[in-house]
């Protein structure tokens, strides 16, 4: 089944001619407004809520450690990863200022800097790491989701449910508090009426981000394309580069908490949500609506397979069926990139998909 779908898509890709026309400029303002008001701002608000809940649950666990409390805290972490995986596709603006992105998630961590720093801290406790504000001034590798995951799911995490106010738990609460603070900053930046949202919604001369409608649409489409690229290159290919290549399951993001695929699905679902919520197909002339249909078809196909992965990564890469799913995802993410970059970008007149893809 999977193999047939792979072939069908490969043929479709190679025969689709790229259209090259202009975008419907009159649709641009409402597309930008919906992207900001209906995707980005709610996304950061949801993130803030999830981070606040994680901070509450971990703090509660520290006060009254129980197995149930540990499970609740772990569940709050899962929800936080879900919220982050949705809004992390916005790798522009306030998210990349003041190292907020790295502070929230330091990944890939090729040299396991985070793991080494967290393990060193747990071996030799430093009380200044148990306060969210002072933790914020320490290494980005020990104050984000990766560090919190190790605290809640890594070796020794069972001790969290044993002793009240233990150091590991208080450090975890500080990380969650730090994430709550960062997400509060992100929300505040996007909620300022005259701030970044204004710049996004009203491109023009003097605008610090977008000086024209075309630039703004280029930026918006760039978010979709760069997100799919990042999910493919940084998340999937971190542990699976294709048939006959060495697999590295312990390089997978969130492998300890088995959130690898919820996160990957979350990224792709976020791309689909942004595409649909902003109604980016509205920028296409009627005769090119099939370009949107093709892109949406591939998004749905990728999500169907990503959602269907229900094994830990180390088992997934060892099984034939699992590797077939990964091959499908890699191939179809490449196809999706072509659909968005070349076909959609070309159809709305963005230089055959080259313009926004960083000329170098």
């Amino acid at each position: 089944m999977v193999r047939t779908a792979l072939l069908a898509l490969a043929v479709a890709t190679s025969t689709l001619p790229p259209p090259a026309f202009a975008m419907r400029l009159e649709a641009v303002p409402s597309v930008l407004e919906r992207a900001v008001d209906d995707f980005i701002r709610p996304g950061y608000r949801d993130l803030h809520e999830a981070a606040a809940d994680a901070a509450r649950q971990v703090s509660s666990l520290c006060l009254a450690p129980t197995d149930d409390g540990l499970q609740t805290a772990r569940g709050a972490f899962d929800s936080l990863v879900e919220a982050w995986s949705h809004i992390e596709i916005i790798r522009v603006g306030p998210a990349i200022e003041n190292y907020r992105f790295e502070r929230f998630l330091y990944y890939p961590d090729r040299k396991s800097i985070g793991l080494k720093q967290v393990q060193a801290l747990l071996a030799k406790p430093d009380e200044s790491a148990t306060d969210a504000e002072s933790l914020a001034g320490k290494s980005v590798a020990m104050q984000g989701l990766g560090a919190l995951e190790f605290v809640l799911f890594g070796t020794g995490s069972e001790t969290l449910s044993r002793t009240p106010h233990n150091f590991r738990c208080r450090y975890g609460a500080a990380i969650a508090g730090n994430l709550e603070n960062v997400s509060a900053e992100l929300t505040a930046e996007w909620e300022k009426p005259d701030g970044v949202q204004q710049a996004w919604k009203h491109p023009g001369p003097g605008n610090p981000i977008y000086r024209s409608a075309e630039e703004a649409v280029t930026g918006l489409l760039g978010i979709l394309v760069h997100s799919i690229e990042a999910t493919k290159d940084q998340r999937l290919q971190a542990f699976y580069r294709g048939p006959d290549e060495r697999t590295r399951p312990k390089s997978a993001i969130y492998w300890r908490s088995e959130n690898t695929f919820p996160s990957i699905s979350g990224n792709v679902r976020a791309v689909q949500d942004l595409w649909k919520t902003a109604r980016m197909a509205d920028l296409l002339d009627d005769e090119f609506q099939s370009v949107a249909g093709s892109a949406e078809f591939v998004m749905t196909s990728v999500l169907r397979v990503a959602d269907d992965v229900n094994q830990p990564v180390d088992e997934l890469v060892e099984s034939k069926a699992g590797r077939a799913k990964l091959d499908f995802l890699l191939l179809n993410m490449n196809d999706l990139l072509d659909r968005l970059n070349r076909d959609y970008g070309g159809a709305i007149g963005l230089g055959a998909g080259f313009s926004f893809a960083d000329g170098d």
Partner: protein, 366 residues
């Protein structure tokens, strides 16, 4: 003209010389329309392209923008270099690519596919030594987090024979001085790693610089860091003028409504001099110069901006704007007999138009 083609100050390659070097047999293999293009051509260029079906290649192009011949590539290419002795050209994979294709624009020799060394990927540019013996390639030592110059023996199947440091990160374009003593390297200052694709990893702490490297020993001759207030000004592309000055062009990563200097020059032993462009030229270039070329005979410096959809021409002597044109998706630029040949992502090339998307650079063959 960029890279090594800038080094060899030869006259435009005329039709008769091209046919003589190409050989009658190769010319006979051309489709009639392409031979027609060649017969009318006074100079030839090469440029990477993407065909309508999404495939990538390199094309040789006449001075009128007509495609003469194509070579298929496994993926998207970026910059190129021309060997003035063997008359071979090299197309480098777009970063973080791992291949480079050596091809013979005159159709005599079979293309050679080069692969990046273990732990290295190509950064998309390179140049030949003026004697044609060594190919220098800008590369990323990605685990070391530093740029390097790969050295390849052009007389021995492009065997890798060593490497020099670039004394910077995010190395991009490079060229050699006409006497072959120095390599001029643009270190864009942006860290990338193949694990992260093309993600810019250090926009908050960029380290752009221009370095002059001893071509024989790899020793650092001089290094020009960007001033503190221009740390987000990524130095990307370089070319040399007739006076031996290095012209450099930049891409700014800071706020879009800033008006940073985008172009400048320096000479060995002298500090950087930025050109104070009129605001309207800076705005037209959208804080992003995609390619730079010097027409040495005409004393002109050409700049393209795909983001701004414009081409700006300066006087090399005064730095003043000579001409400013709107060209949608302006991509590559190279010296022409008079002025410049400019290509665009939407198929424009030197006034002609082809059903391909031209990539970011043009190489003049000769």
């Amino acid at each position: 003209m960029r890279g090594p083609a800038a080094i060899a100050r030869s006259a435009a390659l005329d039709r008769r010389a091209f046919l003589r070097m190409a050989g009658a047999a190769w010319a006979a293999t051309l489709a009639p329309d392409r031979l027609f293009a060649l017969e009318r051509s006074d100079a030839v260029y090469a440029s990477g392209f993407m065909a309508p079906d999404g495939r990538y290649g390199i094309a040789t192009v006449s001075e009128k923008g007509e495609i003469i011949e194509r070579v298929a590539l496994p993926a998207r290419s970026h910059g190129m270099a021309f060997n003035p002795v063997s008359r071979h050209a090299v197309a480098f994979a777009r970063r973080p690519g791992t291949f480079a294709m050596v091809f013979d624009p005159e159709g005599r020799d079979t293309p050679i596919l080069m692969h990046a060394a273990e732990g290295r990927h190509f950064y998309g540019h390179g140049c030949f030594s003026p004697d044609g013996r060594i190919l220098y390639a800008s590369e990323n030592d990605f685990d070391g987090g530093r740029g390097v110059i790969g050295l390849y023996d052009a007389t021995d199947d492009y065997r890798r024979i060593g490497e020099f440091p670039t004394y910077g990160i995010g190395t991009h374009d490079m060229t050699a001085t006409p006497d072959g003593r120095f390599l001029v390297v643009a270190n864009g200052g942006i860290e990338t790693h193949p694990d992260f694709g093309r993600t810019k990893l250090n926009l908050g702490r960029m380290e752009p610089s221009l370095a002059l490297v001893d071509a024989a020993t790899g020793a650092l001759v001089e290094r020009h860091a960007m001033p503190e207030n221009l740390r987000q000004l990524s130095t990307r592309h370089v070319d040399l003028d007739a006076e031996g000055r290095v012209w450099f062009a930049c891409q700014y990563e800071g706020p879009r409504n800033d008006l940073p200097p985008l172009v400048g020059h320096f000479r060995h032993g002298e500090p950087l001099a930025f050109i104070d462009l009129p605001d309207e030229a800076t705005v037209a270039l959208a804080n992003y110069v995609g390619a730079i070329a010097v027409n040495r005979e005409a004393g002109l410096v050409g700049l393209t901006s795909p983001k701004g959809g414009s081409v700006v021409t300066l006087s090399a002597a005064t730095g003043k704007v000579v001409e400013q044109m709107r060209t949608a998706d302006a991509a590559g630029i190279a010296a022409a007999t008079t002025g410049f040949a400019v290509s665009s992502y939407d198929g424009g090339f030197a006034g002609g138009r082809q059903p391909v998307a031209w990539d970011q650079h043009i190489l003049r063959l000769g």
